[in-house]
């Protein structure tokens, strides 16, 4: 495969005996020990379990067994993916001490392959945020500049991958939570079509938007991980799985293919970001693809539609955290109701409370039609707009975020202004489409800029093909090693 695939490279080293899985794992654990303090990417390092798995992998290698596609590769999971016997908290005080009694489907698939789990990564509380700073552990930092945030909500996962503290990580993307931090940290973040990766065991934020996907250091790695985790799961009624593997399609010729440039995606985008995107378009031209420009006015409704529907679902999904069965419970109370109220008041952070309140409001009788129902109708309109768009082009090229990584505490100042930075990522969640964020250069502040490639439903192989062709042509000017973590 291509020369940028870290997973293939590591597996080659493992099977050739250049390094044992135990040595490799120790190397990762050791740099985590040194550098996680600054990055705050991991909130729970599972060293013992990692070394135990590594020893099993070494046995397989010694026995001459062929390695499974992700076997022996040190990786990380976002803390909203349930891991049996390992605390899973969504970085919320309210789930403090909660240890799942079952594995999320994605984790059980990886576990069966003997993937080496290094630990659980930091995230915005319940995946609600764009900076990772709503985490009860404080935010993850950006390996490209420790004064900048890693982004969110999968900030820890992006920080760990970009800082070489994991070969890849799984995040979740509800409104951009994989792509935005990947863009901020200069990594590849892939949000697949809704339904292709099982949500069973992913602690829900907004069920009709949530989707698990990989954050990796190359398109090839993202594709490799995606091929393993995109299995049909009977435990998830919305599961479809992916029929064909995407890896073989990565180097398909894109000559003569059409890339849509949608005017609305560039409204209010910072000029240096826009410039990086235009350069990326030129790279695609040089690869023989064409660009077509058009307008999709309904993109403007994306933010209100997203925040109304996602908060509505969240208000219901988060109702179960009452302190009765698991997680945090307030200390002093005189009645059941008081216990529940105090537990929730003390256990949830401000952003989560804001979204629960908003969601409860839009579902309340008397307001339902004006908000929830209207947003649901507009969701349908946005789906149709994309259907129309993809009759004109194969993929759409857009910025991932209208800017580069925020400075610390930017998000806390004005929540609504911060919500607006999600404008480029939320449309695909509304329509359930696949989109990959790929680094495409740097802003005037020296921070990574990410571009998104969006496609119609189940077009994973197409969007990853475009992304990989770009990376192959322009990796040198688009990616930058942070010099942190494990160097190979």
């Amino acid at each position: 495969m291509g020369k940028y695939g870290k997973i293939a490279q590591l597996q080659e080293m493992l099977s050739s005996g250049e390094i044992s899985c135990t040595e490799l794992t120790k190397k990762y654990l050791s740099v985590i020990g040194k550098e996680n303090g600054a990055l705050n990417a991991y909130i729970n390092v599972t060293a013992d379990a990692a070394l135990k798995t590594a020893a099993e992998v070494d046995k397989d290698i010694a026995a001459g067994k062929e390695l499974a596609p992700l076997e022996g590769i040190p990786m990380a999971l976002k803390d909203n993916i349930s891991t049996k016997g390992m605390e899973t908290t969504c970085c919320s005080k309210i789930l403090g001490g909660y240890v799942p009694i079952y594995d999320a489907t994605v984790w059980s698939v990886l576990k069966n392959q003997k993937a080496v789990l290094l630990g659980k990564t930091n995230m915005d509380e319940f995946a609600m945020g764009s900076s990772c700073e709503t985490s009860c552990h404080g935010g993850a930092k950006n390996p490209h500049n420790l004064k900048r945030v890693a982004g969110g909500s999968s900030g820890g996962a992006a920080s760990a991958v970009s800082g070489n503290l994991a070969a890849y990580a799984l995040g979740s993307d509800t409104g951009g939570s994989i792509r935005q931090p990947a863009s901020f940290c200069g990594a590849v973040g892939f949000k697949p079509t809704y339904g292709t990766v099982s949500r069973y065991g992913l602690i829900a934020y907004a069920s009709s938007f949530d989707q698990i996907g990989p954050i990796a250091s190359s398109v090839e790695d993202a594709a490799r991980v995606y091929d393993v985790i995109s299995v049909y799961d009977k435990m998830d009624s919305t599961s479809s799985g992916q029929k064909e593997p995407v890896l073989p399609a990565l180097e398909n010729d894109i000559r003569g293919k059409k890339i849509g440039i949608v005017k609305e995606y560039f409204d209010g985008v910072r000029s240096d970001v826009k410039e990086a995107l235009l350069k990326a378009a030129d790279v695609f031209h040089s690869l023989g693809a064409e660009t077509v420009e058009f307008s999709m006015p309904s993109i403007h409704y994306s933010l209100p539609v997203y925040y109304i529907l996602a908060c509505a679902e969240a208000s219901s999904n988060l109702g179960r955290y009452d302190g009765i069965r698991y997680g945090y419970q307030t200390e002093h109370y005189t009645s059941r109701n008081e216990m529940i109220c105090k537990t929730r008041s003390e256990g949830f952070g401000a952003e989560v409370k804001r979204r629960i309140l908003l969601g409860t409001y839009v579902l309340s009788s008397g307001y339902y039609d004006a908000y929830y129902k209207k947003a649901q109708d507009l969701r349908g309109a946005i789906v149709q707009a994309f259907d129309g768009a993809f009759s004109k082009c194969d993929v759409i090229l857009a910025p991932t975020v209208p800017m580069t990584a925020f400075p610390e505490n930017y998000a806390a100042k004005d929540p609504v202004e911060t919500y607006q930075t999600d404008i480029c990522t939320v449309p695909v969640n509304i329509a359930g489409l696949p989109a990959v964020s790929v680094p495409c250069g740097f802003g005037s502040d020296g921070m990574p800029v990410g571009m998104q490639i969006l496609g119609p439903k189940f077009s994973e192989s197409t969007v990853l093909n475009f992304a990989n062709m770009y990376e192959s042509a322009a990796r040198e000017t688009s990616f930058k090693d942070t010099g942190m973590g494990v160097s190979l």
Partner: protein
């Protein structure tokens, strides 16, 4: 003034599927607390529901049996409310697109009680108050229910009771629920109001929650009717509210004030896809369903020559009706089969639930064989009865109790001989008969029967006796 009762019922029926509605845990009643549970039905973070197909099929059967339309675009919704027995803080139910709509249940007076809807939903767990503490048992959490909502078409307590009895009979008949009020597998909420006779307006109603027996339901409704009439007559107003029946006092009491009206914030359950019941599925389900009990009743009357009363007794319990049909197969005296069932067999059944399961130790084929012996004149009625009792005692077939000799019957020649012997032994009886005392021949028939231990045909014997006396 005369008042008319206006009443509609919401009936919750627990479905008897083997597994729960959204996971594969057992629905079995009882069990140690929290042993029939899994991550899904206790609502652990990250778990997802998966709709049990059998629940949809059972609910479709309920709809078809009550003349409902099956909604091809049904979906599941979340009903959000907080209570410790509801582990997700929402109940997955159906709101604006229920599975079944626009049906009816016909009462014996010919009135049709219209059904607004039947929808599927999950049961909650149970709070257990013990040793000064409250515990939660989630064994019932996720057990499938259907809620059957009627229009306010019921006009009396008797109609309300009959309506629930009819639902019970139908649901048991199609085998989707045992509908036991005591065990809570059938519960009712009664919406009730009164209005002056002749008025067509609906007046303010109250809802009495959770009726779990017919006697409570009768008492609660009577109390509520009287209370509402008293209010109206004294110029006061009935307040729309939810009320509870207090078994101790026999009164209904308000449960909560009107100020905190429920807002369940219903919305579509995003974790489940639409419930698409195709015409083909409806057809297949129909084919699997037992015959409509009403139709079966008519068929029993027409095809088997039963009286309506007999047929009614049989069809009330599907297994009994099935048993009857098998036993009556190839039998001439079908009424004898009915009498065997409703007589000796019913005498050995303790209660309704035993009638429902109808586990009788003699297979219907054996009853059929016995009655056929009677058809063929090989045994007499008294022999039939005594043999059936022996069969029920032992579970053995009739052949175990009837010897070849018993079944061989009496040849015409032997019978003639026996009759002659009887006349000879009772000369007075013959004289009396000739003297005009017709009944005297009965004594002779009795003697013949005694001599044959009941095997002779008495009509036949009487004919022979009369002709012999006449010679």
């Amino acid at each position: 003034m005369n008042y008319e009762v206006v009443c509609g019922l919401e009936t919750h029926i627990e479905l008897s599927t083997k597994t729960k509605i959204f996971c594969s845990c057992t629905t079995e009643f009882g069990g140690k607390p929290n042993t029939h549970c899994c991550p899904v039905c206790i609502g652990l973070p990250g778990t997802l529901p998966k709709l049990n197909k059998a629940v949809v099929e059972y609910a479709v059967m309920a709809g078809l049996a009550t003349h409902c339309e099956i909604n091809p675009d049904a979906k599941m919704d979340r009903k959000n409310y907080v209570y410790p027995d509801l582990p997700k803080a929402y109940q997955i139910s159906q709101y604006d697109q229920p599975l079944c709509r626009h049906g009816y249940v016909e009462l014996s007076n010919g009135r049709k009680i219209r059904l607004t809807r039947i929808h599927m939903e999950e049961d909650a767990g149970k709070l257990v108050h013990e040793r000064g503490n409250t515990f939660i048992d989630y064994n019932r959490s996720g057990v499938p229910l259907i809620e059957i909502v009627s229009e306010p078409d019921i006009r009396s307590i008797d109609e309300a009771i009959e309506y629930v009895e009819k639902l019970q009979m139908i649901m048991r008949y199609i085998g989707i629920s045992d509908c036991r009020m005591q065990e809570g597998s059938l519960r009712c909420d009664v919406n009730i109001s009164v209005r002056p006779q002749g008025s067509t307006e609906l007046s303010t109603r109250t809802e009495i929650k959770n009726m779990n027996s017919f006697s409570h339901m009768t008492k609660a409704m009577q109390y509520e009717i009287d209370r509402q009439i008293d209010l109206i007559e004294s110029g006061e107003k009935v307040v729309q509210e939810t009320r509870r029946y207090n078994e101790g006092t026999g009164c209904t009491e308000g449960m909560r004030g009107k100020e905190d009206a429920d807002d369940y914030r219903y919305f579509r359950e995003p974790d489940l896809v639409a419930v698409r019941v195709t015409d083909d599925m409806v057809k297949k389900t129909k084919a699997k369903m037992p015959e409509d009990p009403q139709k079966r009743l008519h068929r029993f009357v027409n095809d088997y020559g039963l009286t309506e009363g007999d047929a009614q007794m049989l069809i009330e319990h599907r297994r009994i009706a099935d048993y009857f049909e098998k036993a009556a197969n190839g039998v001439k005296n079908t009424r004898t089969v009915v009498n065997c069932i409703t007589g000796p067999i019913f005498a050995r059944i303790k209660d309704e639930s035993e009638k429902d399961s109808f586990n009788i130790n003699i297979p219907p084929e054996n009853l059929s064989a016995l009655v056929r012996l009677f058809d063929e004149g090989k045994i007499r009625k008294n022999q039939l009865k005594s043999t059936l009792e022996k069969m029920l005692d032992s579970g053995k077939p009739a052949s175990a109790f009837l010897s070849e000799k018993d079944l061989a019957g009496i040849s015409a020649e032997d019978l003639k001989k026996l009759c002659a012997q009887a006349i000879h032994a009772n000369p007075n009886a013959a004289k009396d008969y000739l003297g005009g005392k017709q009944k005297a021949v009965k004594a002779l028939v009795g003697a013949v029967m005694k001599a044959t231990r009941g095997r002779a045909n008495p009509q036949e014997a009487e004919k022979i006796l009369i002709s012999l006396i006449g010679q």
